[in-house]
């Protein structure tokens, strides 16, 4: 687990009423400590499309990959479209290693 300066991990979510698109932003380290907040961000929300904004995500670990799978499952599994937005290089490497490009629409 790499060291990053301690900071507040922040999960923000917003549901665009017109498009029905839910966007979840993860600011800071995306790891098991965000488990509850991340689940709450999409739990009970009915959306037509899902986006996870990773532009301010410093790092993600395998628990975070698991949370993304949970979101995908919740969004309809193999039929769902979940977009992962603007991952940085470190995050992209983790996504690539797990070949998540085959499961998610990664927008660089």
């Amino acid at each position: 687990m790499p060291f990053f300066p301690e900071g507040i991990i922040l999960i923000k979510s917003s549901l665009e009423k017109k498009t029905g698109c839910l966007t979840i932003s993860v600011i800071g380290r995306f790891d098991y400590t965000c488990h509850k907040a991340f689940k709450e961000a999409f739990g009970g929300v009915t959306a037509t499309c899902y986006e996870v904004d990773l532009s301010e995500t410093l790092y993600l670990d395998s628990s975070a990959l698991g949370m993304l799978l949970l979101l995908r499952d919740n969004a309809g599994g193999e039929k769902a479209t979940v977009r992962l937005l603007s991952p940085n290089r470190t995050v992209m490497e983790v996504l690539n290693m797990a070949n998540f490009g085959l499961l998610f629409n990664i927008v660089e």
Binding site: M1, P2, S62
Partner: protein, 563 residues
């Protein structure tokens, strides 16, 4: 509030004591006021006392000694003490505070002062009782959890440790950040010689991560022993994990199939850092990156199975590690993959010691003292004798062999050839013969050579010339995959006959294919002839079998095996 408190009052000034006892009684307290020293520290009293009101100058015994005695007798139960002091004795008040008293009651007593302090003590005692009850429950709970973990760990280790990690060709390390390790390293000999090796890394750490290792290990050992191919094992593990794991859990893993029979290795990487392959021919290691989605995410009918092939020369090395190593952070805050591992990636070190070197780096960077993630690594020194000794060492049966006499035919058409691997089933039938079951590795080798020749050169019409270079080897398998997927016509027929009695023990195995046959008159069985490297399958067969015959223009091969 005060009525729930039991108070011990110790003061040699009897009039003061009586006044205090009166007031406390009015406040609802149950009060003891001993008039003899021995009564003071009677354990029965102490167990029930919520508050001690003490004059430090008591004549019964030194006031300070009284405190020590009471605290000793009460053990963990911290009894609050109110010291009874004269208004003008500032230095005594100071000493009382230093001694850790709860509060001071100043003489002469005032009713309201006592009432307030009694209320405070009552609240303190209530809080203290809640805390100590919770603490006791936590201790009990923790002991139970530790005991459960202890039992589960034994089961876990029995299932995951029955492997051949102590083989001289392997070196490894395995550091867990919890009692249970979410990383798993398994190695098992194949019945045909050679070995399957797997390094798996389950999401998260601890018990929840380790639990998935059980079905993985179970399938891996059982299916390897029964002669299943790597692909079948991986797909079965994947489906089992997909069924049992919650959607946010999966297993990143690398599987390696070592085939000393053709000097080849197959690598499947799903989610692990690049596997490094060091050969004497190249300075830089070849990197086998993750080409697959980790196990347990998608069902096997929708996943694209991607493997890498390589040919090895004895002494080549393969190194794999989990992301706990890849992403470990050095003392300067850099990830291992960005700094420490560079000499490895650049081939600037003696790879013979790569595993030890990695351990040393983890120690130097103080990662082993406080690991944040499970870390594991396995190195394989590739050689043609891996798993071969073990196959040979299986001794002859010394019990009476039951006679056997049976035969069967098994024909696979194009549809079945595309989707089935017949070898494990055939092996299972043949190894039901008492005595022959001790030679399952030899039987598997014969079956697999005959079958792959019939399929690849017969039905699929592939030329083994392509396999003669490292690049060609991969192309060959690519071509094999394409042609097999598009196969519309063709068949392979197995005919087996077993005769086992007191006079002979013989297996006759014929494999017929629908291909064009081949010119078997010019076949070279010479093992030392490197030009015909890929006739080696047949050369080995020739040595294993008492007789090897070709007929029907090379479309039928018949092997006689005696034991």
């Amino acid at each position: 509030m005060g009525q729930r408190l039991t108070v011990l009052v110790i003061d040699h000034l009897l009039s003061d004591a009586a006044e205090l006892v009166d007031t406390l009684s009015q406040e609802g307290c149950k009060v003891f006021c001993p008039d003899h020293a021995n009564e003071i520290i009677h354990p029965f009293h102490l167990e029930h006392i919520d508050l001690l009101c003490l004059n430090p100058y008591t004549q019964y015994q030194s006031g300070w000694q009284t405190i020590v005695n009471i605290k000793d007798a009460a053990r963990l139960k911290a009894i609050p003490i109110l010291f009874l002091c004269d208004n003008n004795d500032a230095s005594m008040q100071e000493s009382c505070m230093l001694e850790g008293c709860f509060d001071i009651l100043i003489k002469p007593f005032r009713y309201r002062q006592i009432a307030f302090k009694i209320n405070a003590v009552a609240e303190f005692r209530a809080m203290q009782k809640t805390l100590s009850t919770q603490r006791d429950e936590m201790i009990m709970h923790n002991e139970k959890v530790l005991y459960d973990h202890h039992l589960a760990k034994i089961v876990y280790e029995n299932i995951t440790h029955s492997n051949c990690l102590n083989d001289a060709a392997l070196s490894h390390f395995h550091y867990g950040s919890h009692t249970f390790n979410g990383d798993v390293i398994l190695a098992a000999y194949k019945p045909s010689g050679g070995m399957h090796v797997v390094l798996g890394d389950f999401t998260g750490q601890g018990l929840s991560a380790a639990i998935g290792a059980l079905p993985l290990a179970d399938i891996f050992f059982d299916w390897t022993e029964r002669g299943f191919l790597l692909k079948q094992i991986i797909l079965e593990v994947n489906d089992r994990l997909k069924d049992i794991l919650p959607p946010n859990m999966f297993c990143s893993a690398a599987f390696v199939d070592i085939n000393p029979n053709n000097d080849g290795i197959e690598i499947w990487n799903g989610g692990l850092p690049d596997l490094l392959y060091f050969s004497s021919a190249n300075k830089l290691p070849k990197r086998f990156k993750s080409k697959n989605i980790p196990l347990g995410i998608l069902s096997s009918d929708v996943i694209d199975y991607q493997i890498d092939h390589a040919l090895f020369t004895p002494g080549d090395r393969l190194l794999m590690f989990s992301d706990g190593v890849h992403e470990a952070v050095d003392l300067m805050g850099r990830m291992f993959c960005d700094a420490i591992l560079h000499p490895l990636y650049k081939g600037e070190m003696a790879v013979d010691h790569a595993v030890d070197w990695l351990i040393q780096q983890l120690q130097q960077e103080e990662i082993l003292e406080n690991p944040h993630d499970d870390m594991s690594c396995i190195g394989v020194r590739l050689d043609v004798n891996i798993g071969m000794e073990v196959a040979k060492r299986k001794s002859l049966p010394d019990y009476y062999e039951v006679p056997a006499d049976f035969s069967f035919e098994y024909v696979l058409g194009a549809d079945s050839l595309r989707s089935t691997d017949p070898l494990p089933y055939l092996l299972q039938i043949l190894t039901t013969v008492p005595g022959l079951n001790h030679f399952s590795s030899q039987i598997f080798m014969i079956l697999s050579e005959l079958y792959s020749n019939a399929l690849e050169h017969g039905v699929l019409n592939l030329s083994s010339n392509k396999k003669s270079s490292h690049d060609g080897f991969s192309q060959y398998y690519e071509e094999r995959k394409i042609r097999l997927a598009e196969l519309k016509m063709g068949y392979i027929k197995f005919s087996a006959r077993v005769v086992s009695d007191t006079s002979q023990r013989l297996l006759i195995l014929s494999v017929e294919d629908s291909g064009d046959g081949f010119d078997f008159a010019n076949l070279n069985y010479n093992l030392s002839c490197s030009e015909l490297l890929y006739n080696r399958g047949l050369a080995l067969l020739n040595r294993l079998c008492s007789k090897l015959e070709f007929s029907n223009g090379g479309r039928v091969v018949t092997a006689h095996y005696q034991w």
